[in-house]
Symmetry: C2
Subunit: 119 residues, 2 copies
């Protein structure tokens, strides 16, 4: 299936949807707009970001913030506090362990259960 068809089913910002299962990881797509994702980390889990469309502001502790654009690929390593936001709508692909909570241990109004992400 094309990534655009998967994205067309995403109706909420910050709400990742699983598009594939590859061994112990889920591949997901999400749409980001705004600053609603809280600072968080994934204690034992790396998380990969790939920009499909638009621009994503990436903030990571101990680093200068940087802007990711279409085609950029970045892995935030386990345990590192980070936050992503976007002024305009941005489409991303995520590669995460199945066990990864997308906002880490931080519960916020954008937090979605894995069941919701699998719908």
């Amino acid at each position: 299936m094309n990534i655009k068809d998967h994205l067309s089913k995403v109706t909420e910002y910050f709400s990742p949807k699983v598009i594939g299962e590859v061994n112990d990881v889920y591949v997901k797509v999400a749409k980001i707009k705004g600053e609603d994702i809280p600072w968080h980390n994934h204690k034992d889990e790396d998380e990969a970001f790939f920009i499909l469309e638009g621009e994503l502001l990436f903030e990571e502790e101990g680093k200068d913030s940087f802007t990711m654009t279409k085609g950029d690929f970045y892995v935030v390593k386990q345990g590192i506090n980070h936050r992503v936001s976007a002024e305009k709508e941005c489409h991303i692909m995520l590669i995460e362990n199945k066990s990864t909570a997308h906002t880490g241990e931080v519960e916020s109004h954008v937090t979605r259960s894995i069941e919701e992400q699998l719908k």
Copy 2:
């Protein structure tokens, strides 16, 4: 780093290069042109394909062959014999377990060790 920069370093067809490590998986890019990849399977490992540019002919046992185009995402499940080829140069992203041999247990002239893929 942008996927185009990673791809610009790929000088051989069928020779995947690791662009990121996410927990137990490697994310790779590769360029495909021709029919040199042998039929193979990955006994215990799923393998994800994402088309970055061009068209990829996907053949999988028990299915009609199909053509993947830019933005298409597909996971071939563990143990299923498959083969990919491309008439014109095609750029792909792969998501594979670190332990996955890219041509399965089949050794061919395109087979590359993980050390070569990490260079």
